[in-house]
């Protein structure tokens, strides 16, 4: 079966002072595609790296991206099949800047409760953003709260 995912790759011109690679992926609001999207991005984010990135580095990217996609699909787009999720990756030397945008109304990240309190510990939901915060080097949101920017190491 043909994949529903199509990744675009753009490289900066060699004359530019720092070499950059830009990846973009537009996907439907389908949680069944999260694993495939994560593997595709993981492969391209670390392509050609010598030595190859550690298992820990790849684990951080995979989990953080899977979380961001699940949040965008389920909470941002409310699993509406008419709405899309867009992923942008900017690869700059030893750093990956990953942006995940949905078409929802956005949320206020400061209002997400702490999931490790005794009363929340046995809850089924609410750990996604908490995990992302611990896995990435830097975390930012746009003003509307429907785009998350995560900075991760590339080696």
């Amino acid at each position: 079966m043909a994949s529903a995912l199509c990744l675009c790759v753009r490289r900066s011109l060699p004359a530019e002072p720092s070499s950059r690679v830009f990846l973009s992926l537009d996907m439907p609001s389908d949680v069944g595609l999260v694993e495939e999207a994560v593997e595709l991005l993981n492969r391209h984010c670390f392509a050609g790296r010598t030595p190859p990135p550690s298992a820990r580095t790849q684990f951080r990217l995979r989990v953080a991206l899977a979380e961001a996609l699940a949040n965008a699909i389920q909470f941002g787009n409310q699993s509406d099949p008419a709405k899309r999720v867009r992923i942008i990756a900017e690869l700059i030397s030893d750093e990956i800047r990953l942006g995940v945008s949905d078409q929802g109304v956005g949320f206020d990240p400061s209002r997400v409760p702490e999931p490790t309190s005794p009363e929340s510990l046995e809850g089924e939901c609410g750990r996604g953003l908490f995990l992302i915060r611990h896995l990435v080097d830097r975390l930012e949101f746009n003003d509307q709260g429907n785009t998350i920017w995560m900075t991760l190491p590339r080696s």
């Binding site: 949680v31 069944g32 595609l33 999260v34 694993e35 298992a55 820990r56 684990f59 995979r62 989990v63 899977a66 979380e67 699940a70 699909i73 389920q74 999931p115 490790t116 510990l121 046995e122 809850g123 089924e124 939901c125 609410g126 750990r127 996604g128 908490f130 995990l131 611990h134």
Partner: protein, 111 residues
């Protein structure tokens, strides 16, 4: 990617997570354990030896499964987590909720 269910001695059902436990397949694992509970099984070992990564939906599914097993007066243990997987349980304090053994064999001895 998928789940393999095998029966071990002493009535323990071992469920191996091969690949990812994430938002796209967590319901499958919940259904598999529920089916075993309905069948009368009460002792479960989740083997993560061949697991790649788990997201928060996967962790949430394990919390929900553990609750159901406990309500049925059963027992659920985890084993075979690598350092990365273990760090997710420690960060979220879920290591306080599940008995976690280094290897499946050690977990089986604990039942």
């Amino acid at each position: 990617m998928g789940f393999t269910k095998t029966a071990k001695g002493a009535g323990v059902v071992v469920v191996s997570i091969e690949g990812q436990l994430i938002v796209g397949n967590r319901q499958e694992l919940k259904a598999l354990i529920q089916e075993s509970l309905d069948h009368g099984d009460r002792k479960f070992l989740i083997d993560c030896t061949r697991t790649g990564y788990i997201d928060s939906s996967g962790l949430g599914a394990l919390v929900s499964i553990a609750k159901k097993v406990r309500e049925a007066t059963g027992e659920l243990r985890l084993a075979g987590l690598n350092n990365d997987l273990r760090s997710l349980f420690e960060l979220t304090k879920l290591d306080t909720l599940f008995p976690i053994s280094p290897t499946p064999d050690q977990a089986l001895q604990g039942f």
